[in-house]
Subunit: 254 residues, 6 copies
Amino acid sequence: MAADLLARLKSVNRDEVYSNAWLTIPSSWTAEIMARSGFDLCTIDAQHGLMDYQTGLSMLQAIGNTKALPLIRVHDNAIPNLMKWLDAGALGLILPMIDEPEQLKQALSACYYPPAGNRSHGPTRAAFVTHPDYRYHVSGDLLIFAQIETASGLEQVEAIATVPGLKGLYVGPYDLSISIGRPKLADLSDPVLWSALVRIAAAAQKNELLLGIHTSDTSRIPDLRALGFHIFSTGSDSHLLMDSAKKLDQELRG
Amino acid sequence: MAADLLARLKSVNRDEVYSNAWLTIPSSWTAEIMARSGFDLCTIDAQHGLMDYQTGLSMLQAIGNTKALPLIRVHDNAIPNLMKWLDAGALGLILPMIDEPEQLKQALSACYYPPAGNRSHGPTRAAFVTHPDYRYHVSGDLLIFAQIETASGLEQVEAIATVPGLKGLYVGPYDLSISIGRPKLADLSDPVLWSALVRIAAAAQKNELLLGIHTSDTSRIPDLRALGFHIFSTGSDSHLLMDSAKKLDQELRG
Amino acid sequence: MAADLLARLKSVNRDEVYSNAWLTIPSSWTAEIMARSGFDLCTIDAQHGLMDYQTGLSMLQAIGNTKALPLIRVHDNAIPNLMKWLDAGALGLILPMIDEPEQLKQALSACYYPPAGNRSHGPTRAAFVTHPDYRYHVSGDLLIFAQIETASGLEQVEAIATVPGLKGLYVGPYDLSISIGRPKLADLSDPVLWSALVRIAAAAQKNELLLGIHTSDTSRIPDLRALGFHIFSTGSDSHLLMDSAKKLDQELRG
Amino acid sequence: MAADLLARLKSVNRDEVYSNAWLTIPSSWTAEIMARSGFDLCTIDAQHGLMDYQTGLSMLQAIGNTKALPLIRVHDNAIPNLMKWLDAGALGLILPMIDEPEQLKQALSACYYPPAGNRSHGPTRAAFVTHPDYRYHVSGDLLIFAQIETASGLEQVEAIATVPGLKGLYVGPYDLSISIGRPKLADLSDPVLWSALVRIAAAAQKNELLLGIHTSDTSRIPDLRALGFHIFSTGSDSHLLMDSAKKLDQELRG
Amino acid sequence: MAADLLARLKSVNRDEVYSNAWLTIPSSWTAEIMARSGFDLCTIDAQHGLMDYQTGLSMLQAIGNTKALPLIRVHDNAIPNLMKWLDAGALGLILPMIDEPEQLKQALSACYYPPAGNRSHGPTRAAFVTHPDYRYHVSGDLLIFAQIETASGLEQVEAIATVPGLKGLYVGPYDLSISIGRPKLADLSDPVLWSALVRIAAAAQKNELLLGIHTSDTSRIPDLRALGFHIFSTGSDSHLLMDSAKKLDQELRG
Amino acid sequence: MAADLLARLKSVNRDEVYSNAWLTIPSSWTAEIMARSGFDLCTIDAQHGLMDYQTGLSMLQAIGNTKALPLIRVHDNAIPNLMKWLDAGALGLILPMIDEPEQLKQALSACYYPPAGNRSHGPTRAAFVTHPDYRYHVSGDLLIFAQIETASGLEQVEAIATVPGLKGLYVGPYDLSISIGRPKLADLSDPVLWSALVRIAAAAQKNELLLGIHTSDTSRIPDLRALGFHIFSTGSDSHLLMDSAKKLDQELRG
């Protein structure tokens, strides 16, 4: 079923909105909870989340062929790391801290097989859980996002957006607001941050890229959609649990 | 700090209310989230939860460093199982499905050292994380609850409540309502279920026992407090996450 | 999809044959390999296999996302153990070493909710991955097999087969042949062992029970089908790997 | 190599002394450290230690490759539990809290195949790492010890020692001293405790049983050897590490 | 025993053929199965396999001192990664995607202690399981293979083969055939691919290097031996299990 | 409580001596043993130790808020790796093999948020277990040590010591003695090695840096204190256990 979604996402239809769960708890059970709660995408955040590869693999299995499509936000854009996650069956990657096109080209070379890239052959789990001819039927459609979250990435977003093989841009407004020197973290009412989003959205639209944001304020989703954003995540499973736990503690005290 | 709470609980002061987190996710990180969210007690539900002993141990370690007091709701009242959890550093146990006094006496014999019981000596982690003389300074104060959740347990609650070594009663209203043949699960507005709670509370009060309930309806906590209940839990970490995840998915779709 | 199979199995159609993978490797990845290799059923052998509950849970998750239906061959028929596997999402259990009806009745009481049994309420994963109303829509259809593999079990198979709530018989010919004093292990050409199978099959047919066997000799499957057997397993994942590894070692040496 | 030791132990030669490491840390690496440090036997203490089956299996694997012979001190004498450890490749078991002959007979029935007992066939790892014909060449020689550590066990030690299939007695002086009402824990200078050891040793000698003790005072080993004890353990890996860590902390402070 | 093999391999005797198991399942039990099935070498494939370091460590323990010699095919030639696997007790490494001599020199610097390289001192497990003076008696003999599997690596194979400290070449025909633009994957009947193998073999022979190949077609092993290849692997444990599972499923359906 | 120690360490008071436990066993239980044995600091040695990130996280939880302060000796100074350990709640890092100032500047950029560095925002566990405003109240005080253990690092130690954001120097005398060509490993009586320590200490004192050493000879601690060293570690938990195990084996043999 995730394969259907993969196909649908290829069309980059901005009338469709996609919810994206953000997983930081290192647990296949919480991954299964999230994957069965309705989200279109489930991103295992291997950067700021608390899992590494082995636990991430068990989470990929749990997300498995629920209807949610599993992505990895990698902690490191190094080539061997990207290949290992794709072989494990991730159907897409979010590459953090993309500063300029050359860095992205290198990372993308790890994601595609020759001649498009230099990915080494060996899709151990990927082929078994998607298609026996994964190499020819799946590997070209993987959802690779560049995360725009630094001043440098913003300055070069137009060039970044044209790198062949890129499928989408994903905004990290926390790091972006810090990096461009804004006084508040990810404040969507800050006009300087907002104009950065406008610029990034324009680059995505021009290149027919998917466009996502880890938004700090879900009330602004309509405004973000107006810019062309159509993939939304916020917070994390850890924060969902923390926040609801604190409320429950108060509730139990009467 | 949990030691302070242990001491405070000994006094069975019904003016104090205690919140109790209910852990079913097999993860030391979610255990740490729950333990740092304000709850007085954290119960690792090894019965209906998804962890076993080894993961439970890692959860005890994560709770161990907070002010929350760790309990285990065991999946089996068999003697070797109870001993193993106590040696791991649990400061209390909730014993499910207590039907009659003899069954409880047997279980309690596993919890206390001779002459009070037959617990085998070897508090490997328990002594190291509480007191070098755990045997003499901690082991007698362990919080052992009998869970009243069957028709038989209800019928014999007065006798159950007098078994030496018992520290509290804990009501499981889901199983109890089923067992006494009520049409709805854990419906606190059902007068037959409510009168069962009244009866259990009376037995606890008479024997100066702690009194808890895994309530299905937190709005009734004031009424429950009036009966003498002062330890409250509800739902579970899995349900907190599921419920908030489903809401978030809707929110992200705008 | 496994739910469809569950429904189909209810009809006890002996014209349909079901393959059953036998899992002894404690790994969610090998479980996923087996579950995606075409088998109808995947039995996690928690008795002679090398996994315990926590690893078994990860295997249930890996199987969960395929069309294969997950069973547990438990290591212990004790009530708390049976409940814990069912709460984890097993859709059936194979109960080893069933010697007589009373023992089976006790075990079955753990599998069904009141009034059919005494299963405690708390289907933490089971409800989430099958049906929100698991209690009413799934729990009654669980596939509970009694394993007939002792002289005593054979002697009382007619009575065992009539215990309410039982869904099938499963023959363990290794233990059975030993227990009835045959000189060879699981030798299907032994007429004494074969007549035991005839007797067991008759009891299953009379009570419209599913009928499976962990056969030692797949060449006899047609003969077994003629008796009414329609669920077949053999060897284990460990043995598949061992045998093919030894062959490969020889092949590589040329 | 452990197989050689198994053979040597069969002869019950009291001139040979055997050191026995006591493992409570749930880790295959510390198990490997202990197994390579010179001990003849390595006992995984699943009773008061902090491991369960899955971790214990990894410890058996780590010990498996050394000359040390792996034993399990089980936490529960229940039949399914004993079988599962033996299938995992334990070459012996120490059964705690043996109070009387009938209890021991039941436990031993789980350890031996018919006709000696009722052990279910399926030595998944045991056969692969010892002998393809494990059933005929290894399973009869397993080292099964009854632990004498209760007043009742002491009272019936002569009868316990004659139960067929028993290979040795192992004294737990902590629990024994408590159970027989001595004021100090495991005080070998206490004449009442000492005379209990004399009595146990006599029963072992008369029945040509191996004889071990988890001694609290290694300076008394010569005296214990004079009684016929020849297998010695003390403390645990956890305590070795704790004690040396505390000393090191002081040493580093100068 | 693996130490004996290490010594034998040093002589680079092409009359001896070595079988090499290829491990991609993240499990110490399947590693033990493979290591005890007769193979001379066991390669933990950390590149396309599904394990990371922690699981790989448990696999190294299971391979332990069976007679099989444990190698790691690393996922990343970065210096810290190579050191960490060697400290864990790997007796050799297969370095993927070696394109040119300088890259290899850097990687080799991580494998040998000064003055031969810059490996940091701390052979935590390596020394304990091989030789107390590992630094002087083992570390110089580690089996380090460069994997030739890119067009660039092929073009520079003569220079690569002369880098001091290199012990062998290992061909990855899948990636190699892709990288040199062949239409089929690893087709050994393709004369262009075959002539590449001839060239690589010549470089190995000239420099007295061990010579291995992950062959796609075991029927060609005699031809490969004629070129000087004497270490052979194929497929993986995952594929062995998948293939035999699919066959078994069919067999069980009759 | 660790927070108090963090504050105290900021003052760089050389009259205070700090003991530092060195953890190489991949286990949260041994980490808890070490953390509760009196040490001020607990360093998880992810370089030569046998744990990776996931196990290291469980060890950080066990060290938790005991009074010991958790450090990581990373295996790789790569930026994504440093960020991931800090997000997990490490309160300091020891960076191995620092050769020159530029390398250190890059590493430090990963440790501090803008404008001091480029650390990406997402202190998932760090914020939850220290301070909700971790970014402003904790992240600036993290204890980042450069390890001086190469000839190059020694030659440039004065420049290294002035890199902004550095909090301390830590000497690795094993690698240092090898790297500067001394005949013995870490021989503190070697005047050439000693004069290297003098030089390093002078650089630390001049820049008011903390100063630690993984000393090979604790009898020289007074002399080292005279140079300004005040943080001391030696050996490892693995070695403590190995050494005491070997002694115990001998003791048990009488």
